[in-house]
Symmetry: C2
Subunit: 206 residues, 2 copies
DNA sequence: ACGCGGATTGAACAAGCGTTTAATCTATTG
DNA sequence: CAATAGATTAAACGCTTGTTCAATCCGCGT
């Protein structure tokens, strides 16, 4: 019932530790006892506050959905600085405290095809749709012949940095969402979005 | 020890059923007893052949890595028809039997950060690097100022269709890797890669 | 025909799981 | 201060898990 803030009731502490552990290792791999230990309480109290492990997971889902609700409304009302433009994921990441478990949890939600994850995905998509429509209306973007697919393409190009961040960091040698990696990534991506893949020097293929 | 082919030894049957179940629900959610039932054998036999559930999972990892090895060498030796060019993931999917559990298993490997998944990711990246270098050498692609990031960008744009296929299908209303969705997706993506995002009609913004 | 080794099984095991229960602590209220 | 309701706990329960073990089946070489 209570939202984020600095809520240090036992219930909130349990929920937060569960979120962290679930994000790191997946709900199936985390036992109620481990959550209780991480929260500094007894296993019984976890059940007493949430009814069951499944309902605790649902509470974590709901909490994460609430965090994203905040982010989406803040993005819609212009409360986010999208100065460098390209990446919603990066803007989100800046809003969350460093090392927040929320991105990792979203990763798991999307992996398992969880309904909560699909809901966030859908809201993300409609948010992206609204933003591109606004850019088209202001003439900053071509109309596009298939706007739905275009929005989805841009969206997942962005979201995938959250999903494959670790693998990209290891292979390319730089964290694409870190301070240095983000600009290097954005430069290349914006160059492709502006000039296409073919001919950076100005000549263009078929 | 034995490779794919039509290996119908009990060991191979167990491995294949485990692969399917792991891909569908994740290794943690699948019990040895369920695998044994799906393979039509006793739980004890599963352990007898693989030593432990963990080693069975490792055997499945190895097997999937072998499948991708085949795909990569076939792609390197030109054994794949990349006529429509853009998507390695789609070309891979065409090589696998319909309904193959391998893509789903790869999804789990990548999103859980598994070491086997990172290995496949790395091979995928170097394969993509070689391909773009070949295209640059033949003048079909601009040199690019940040070739590593560009290759990674193109690669994950492609790979993400495998990761978020279900969510994309539900939100956009069409399976981006299905027969119809693939062409619709490829048209839009290639248009962006050729002409950029701005001004399909030919005018370009800053 | 015989025996021998691997394949296979059903039953059992210990351990860990989520959950329950009864008791204890704590703090607020009348 | 006494009483009461919720927070909290330790211990236990039933169940499922991965794994073990002894016994049985099956095919193959001599």
């Amino acid at each position: 019932m209570c939202s984020a803030h600095d809520d240090l009731t036992a219930r909130a502490v349990i929920r937060d530790r569960a979120l962290e552990l679930f994000a790191a290792q997946g709900p199936d791999a985390v036992t109620v006892r481990r959550i209780a230990a991480a929260a500094g309480v007894s296993p019984g109290l976890v059940i007493h506050h949430f009814g069951s492990k499944e309902r605790l997971r649902a509470a974590v889902d709901e909490h994460v959905a609430g965090v994203f609700d905040d982010l989406f409304t803040r993005a819609a009302t212009g409360g986010l600085d999208m100065t460098d433009g390209a990446s919603l994921a990066e803007a989100f990441l800046r809003q969350l405290p460093p090392g927040s478990p929320v991105p990792g949890y979203l990763r798991r939600l999307l992996l398992t095809g969880d309904a909560a994850g699909t809901g966030i995905f859908r809201r993300w998509f409609t948010a992206g749709r609204t933003m591109t429509e606004a850019l088209v209306a202001r003439g900053l973007l071509g109309p596009g012949r298939d706007p739905e697919v275009r929005t989805a393409f841009l969206m997942v190009n962005d979201l995938v940095l959250l999903l494959l961040r670790d693998q990209l960091a290891e292979v390319v040698g730089i964290d694409p969402l870190g301070p240095e990696g983000a600009v290097r990534w954005a430069e290349e991506v914006l160059d492709i979005y502006r000039n296409g893949l073919f001919g950076t020097e100005g000549e263009s293929a078929s």
